[in-house]
């Protein structure tokens, strides 16, 4: 077979997901090129460059043994929590909300890293939890504590989007860990009751306004409804085939806000139309499918939960971002994985991918072991 001529280290890589991802990133880079008015700077080149840097990082993560993951889960979680507190303190001193820690050579957003972090620590928790305890309170209370601390800190920043992303990842982890179904049904009911209360008490004014405007964007066409309205115009005016590469008037004439970050999908859809949108959805479907498949094939409870959780984290990004740009969700600052320009989100997503690749590797090793 031809395989024999290819070094095993390369042949072993999950090309069926790396190739579509690379295609998506290159496509994203083209969109960024166009959004910059036909220039590689400042976004297109760094986008691709970052992807390859983080791809190498993902490859390295993939080689980390499972033991290390398990042993480092709690310490990583602890460090991230400390960082979140630190951000809160510095923000408190500096006045106003701050989400970044300036490390000198780069800015670090701990809340971003907490998304895979919560998945890791919960996967570890449920893997060490005795099987018989799954239906008891011991399965719930620690998990809720583990979630509550970072989610609370992030919401305090205030960063509703990331807080929801962390919570969503954690809840899906609990669901997959086999906690009783009635908990989730009850939780859903409770959320339905609590949401209106939270809306009027917990949310900040600007967040409340965003939600209200989401309900009726045309009520405030020049204010907060502007984002949604302009994004829908961009996507809608693209049609099936789009206006053509470099011909998106909404993004080029600055009508579309955040055309290179949160609303990059609208920028793309304007020029590439529904066809481009379907391509993006297709790639994400491939990634999701791969991730869940890896999870199903994983050899043990820890790696199963880990892979499924990481997949879910990416899914949540994609789902919320696309719903937002198409006017199905309020405007929350969540970028589209692999397409939006931005280092932090690229890193988080590549950590997720790397982790899934690691799980894939473990299962193959155990698989080969059986052979």
């Amino acid at each position: 077979m031809q395989r024999a001529y290819i070094p095993q280290a390369i042949a072993r890589q999950p090309w069926r997901v790396i190739l579509p991802l690379t295609a998506l990133v290159v496509f994203g880079s083209m969109v960024l090129y166009s959004a910059a008015g036909g220039h590689f700077q400042p976004w297109a080149v760094t986008h691709v460059a970052r992807f390859f840097v983080f791809l190498v990082m993902a490859g390295l993560i993939a080689r980390v043994p499972q033991d290390w993951f398990k042993r480092s889960a709690l310490p990583i979680y602890g460090v991230l929590c400390v960082l979140l507190v630190l951000v809160e303190l510095i923000g408190g001193i500096g006045g106003g909300s701050q989400r970044w820690l300036n490390l000198g050579f780069m800015t670090l957003q701990p809340s971003e890293l907490m998304k895979p972090g919560i998945v890791l620590v919960l996967a570890w928790f449920y893997s060490v939890l005795p099987v018989g305890e799954v239906n008891g309170w011991r399965a719930i209370a620690p998990a809720v504590l583990l979630l509550g601390l970072p989610a609370g800190l992030v919401m305090l920043q205030p960063d509703l989007g990331t807080g929801l992303a962390i919570s969503f990842g954690a809840v899906v982890m609990m669901f997959l860990a086999g906690l009783p179904l009635r908990l989730f049904i009850g939780g859903l009911a409770a959320a339905a009751v609590a949401a209106p209360i939270a809306f009027f008490t917990l949310l900040h004014d600007y967040q409340r306004k965003r939600v209200l405007v989401f309900m009726d964007p045309e009520s405030d066409p020049l204010g907060s409804g502007y984002h949604i309205t302009q994004s829908k115009i961009a996507i809608g005016s693209g049609g099936f085939l789009g206006k053509g590469f470099g011909h998106g008037s909404q993004s080029h004439l600055d009508y579309l806000p955040e055309a290179h970050t949160d609303f990059v999908f609208a920028t793309m859809a304007e020029e590439w139309g529904m066809l481009g949108g379907l391509f993006v959805l297709f790639v994400f479907a491939v990634v999701m499918h791969w991730g869940l498949k890896v999870a199903s094939n994983a050899p043990d409870r820890f790696s199963r939960l880990l892979a499924a959780g990481m997949t879910t984290t990416i899914f949540f990004y994609v789902c919320i971002n696309l719903m937002m740009v198409m006017g199905l969700a309020p405007v929350v600052g969540i970028p589209l994985p692999f397409m939006s320009h931005g280092g932090s989100s690229m890193m988080t997503n590549m950590i997720c991918i790397g982790t899934i690749m690691a799980v894939d590797r473990w299962s193959r090793r155990s698989g080969t072991g059986l052979l």
């Binding site: 997959l176 829908k232 005016s237 859809a269």
Partner: protein
């Protein structure tokens, strides 16, 4: 309760697989939903969003149409347009008004009071209403603003056309002025043109009355622009269609001359053509400069205009009502003639007329001696008219007054005209529920008492007496207008009156110095002096300006073949001596402009320059004294209200008058002495008298 199975790893794995499947299905469902949404937006709703994107991309800028010109009878412009550079602010788009104005002030050389005015307007304007910062800029200033646009959001520099009145204040009341549309205007019309920077709407006078005709159709410029308004490229331009011009009967140079000739006085001049009724000049001074009104009324300007007791904002020709004084005497005489009175019938004037146990005084207490109709007119003898008015009766006089245009409403294109009163017994009965008394006739025959007229009506009266034609004032030039009908007076009656009026100027009359210095042209006229306060307060000649008599003069020339008729009113001029020199020079201008100009230029040297120079001097003095501390100018509506209040004629007395007004120490004091000695006693006229070239 579920049965408690011992939980095993296998069960958990199974559970995981089932739940992962559910999760996968959930994700797939979301994916399908997103795809469906995408399809709905980009295919099903494509039309709608494509249109929205086009309307984002393409910016339609209206180009204000050039306004139709206002022309004089010879085609010279009274109001035109000139190309200019201007800078406007759109309040909605301005981020920090103070900072923006701070940047603009040094660039455009704006003074503190100007900035105050702009801030007032910004406070009042609705967000989308452009506020003018400056116009008539030179290229350097315009360019200086243009290059700094990125740091000046909401600032719109543009080149366009602005209204230009070459003779400025001379046509202020005649033509009116333009200004930015008010919120009310926009409310009424809902036309986007009204909130286009640089567009002006007629605010007063003809500019307002003929707004639809003058406005024209806006052009449009289609550009591709970014969300912040930066123009990326031009997509095409549609030219504007200029408004249609209107041509007036006005003689532009004459209008300007008359305005300048009024000088420091508060007065009005109306000149009419005796063949057609064309209004050749219609001047009310002092006035405002419509050129500087087009960017709104500034605080200093407003202070200056509203504090002026000469009421520059009132159009005195149409809104000023005055007792006409003795200028009604030719009219009264004509009514006597038409009623069959022999012009040679005389009375002896001994300085008063005794009726019963009362004495009605003549203005000349020493008396005129034997007085027939001609002498009654040229010496303005009151006793003659007292006497025969009692014989003929007030109804006949009032009828003649109305036939000649007093109290008549003329369809002039101006709002808020005042038409005055011609009293008669029926009117008094209706109005005051009391009977006509002898003193009412006495008052009315000398143009006092209840009688009130405006200067235009006086001009019409003069033209109808001069021509015997039923002339009506016409302001819009129509060369094919039907020939006016005859009034039906007997020509010999008219000739008699004309001769008597000629005597006023060229003979033994009360206005000897009104003779015009043109060979072969003799002017006929009649003086009038109307009292403002009783003799117990002031003698009407000097003292408080507000207490001085109004001066009137009506005239026409040439007396034997009337061509032009004219009426002059000088408020508080101290008598007719203030009015007839103006009439003389204005009429001279029609026959010999050079001679008239020379006289005017001599005057203007004494007055401190022409109208505009004097206004500038005054403005600068005000600006230096008050600067930005002047109270802010009222907005359009308020200003209009104040002006309207100002323009309301004095209300008719609510109680009936109970006595005869003592006639003002009439005409020219010079004529108190016998006519041949008149030259030696020149009156202390408020306006310096011209060189005595007109003396015999």
């Amino acid at each position: 309760m579920k049965k408690m199975l011992p939980m095993t790893s296998a069960i958990l794995t199974n559970k995981f697989e089932r739940r992962t499947f559910v999760l996968g299905m959930g994700q797939a469902t979301v994916g399908v939903m997103l795809a469906a949404r995408l399809g709905y937006l980009s295919v099903a709703e494509n039309e709608k969003y494509r249109a929205a994107s086009e309307s984002n991309r393409v910016n339609l800028t209206l180009i204000p149409p050039r306004r139709g010109w206002v022309l004089d009878r010879n085609g010279a412009a009274l109001a035109s347009n000139r190309a200019d550079f201007r800078v406007d602010l759109i309040p909605d788009r301005v981020v920090d008004a103070d900072a923006t104005l701070g940047t603009l002030a040094p660039l455009l050389g704006l003074t503190a009071d100007k900035i105050g005015d702009i801030k007032d307007k910004l406070d009042k304007a609705r967000g989308f209403q452009p506020v003018e910062v400056a116009s008539n800029l030179d290229w350097e200033k315009f360019a200086a603003v243009s290059v700094r646009l990125p740091e000046l959001p909401g600032v719109i520099p543009q080149r366009g056309y602005s209204r230009f009145y070459p003779t400025g204040p001379s046509v202020g009341h005649l033509v009116g002025y333009v200004g930015p549309a008010s919120a009310d205007d926009y409310e009424r019309e809902r036309n986007p043109l009204l909130i286009t920077p640089g567009f002006k709407i007629g605010k007063d006078g003809l500019e307002k009355h003929f707004e639809t005709r003058l406005r024209g159709v806006p052009g449009a410029r289609r550009v591709e622009a970014t969300a912040s308004g930066r123009v990326v490229r031009d997509l095409g331009t549609r030219e504007d269609v200029p408004g249609k011009p209107i041509q007036l009967t006005i003689n532009g140079p004459l209008q300007d001359y008359a305005a300048r000739r009024i000088g420091l006085e508060s007065g009005s001049v109306v000149v009419m053509d005796c063949q057609t009724g064309d209004v050749l000049a219609m001047v009310s001074m002092p006035s405002f400069d419509p050129n500087s009104f087009s960017d709104g009324i500034g605080r200093i300007e407003w202070k200056m205009l509203s504090e002026d007791d000469h009421v520059p904002l009132r159009n005195k020709v149409l809104r000023g009502l005055y007792p006409p004084g003795s200028t009604v005497k030719p009219m009264v005489a004509l009514s006597f003639l038409e009623a069959g009175l022999d012009p040679n019938a005389s009375v002896n004037c001994a300085g008063g007329l005794r009726v019963g146990n009362r004495v009605f005084h003549c203005w000349n207490h020493r008396g005129h001696g034997t007085t027939d109709m001609a002498k009654g007119i040229y010496q303005s003898c009151d006793v003659y008219f007292y006497h025969f008015a009692q014989q003929i009766g007030m109804d006949i006089i009032a009828t003649m007054a109305r036939r000649l245009g007093l109290g008549q409403e003329f369809a002039m294109p101006y709002p808020g005209q005042s038409y005055g009163t011609v009293p008669d017994p029926a009117w008094k009965k209706r109005k005051y529920k009391s009977d006509w008394a002898l003193y009412d006739t006495v008052n009315a025959t000398i143009g006092q008492g209840y009688m009130l007229v405006n200067p235009l009506q006086q001009a019409v009266m003069a033209s109808r007496i001069a021509s015997g034609l039923e002339l009506s004032p016409r302001l819009l030039l129509d060369r094919h207008a039907p020939q006016p009908r005859s009034m039906g007076f007997r020509q010999e009656h008219l000739d008699y009156i004309h001769a008597a009026m000629n005597e006023v100027v060229n003979g033994r009359g009360t206005a000897g110095k009104a003779r015009i210095p043109v060979e072969g042209v003799q002017m006929a006229g009649k003086t009038g002096t109307a009292q403002v306060v009783g003799l117990n307060i002031g003698n009407g000649k000097g003292g408080l300006w507000k207490h001085r008599d109004h001066g009137h003069f009506i005239c026409f020339a040439p007396f034997d073949k009337p061509r032009y008729a004219c009426a002059v009113v000088v408020e508080h001029g101290g008598g007719s001596g203030a009015a007839y020199p103006i009439a003389r020079d204005v009429m001279t201008f029609l026959f010999d402009p050079g001679k008239a100009m020379q006289v005017l230029e001599d005057f203007e040297k004494q007055w401190g320059g022409d109208v505009r120079q004097r206004m500038t001097t005054k403005y600068n003095a005000y600006a230096a004294q008050y600067g930005a501390s002047a109270p802010k100018a009222p907005d359009e509506a308020q200003a209009a209200e104040e002006v309207a209040a100002d323009n309301k004629p004095a209300p008719e007395p609510s109680a009936a008058q109970t006595d005869a007004a003592s006639p003002a120490p009439e005409p020219d004091p010079a004529t108190i002495s016998p006519p041949d000695a008149a030259a030696s006693a020149a009156p202390p006229a408020p306006a310096p008298s011209p060189s005595p070239t007109t003396r015999p």
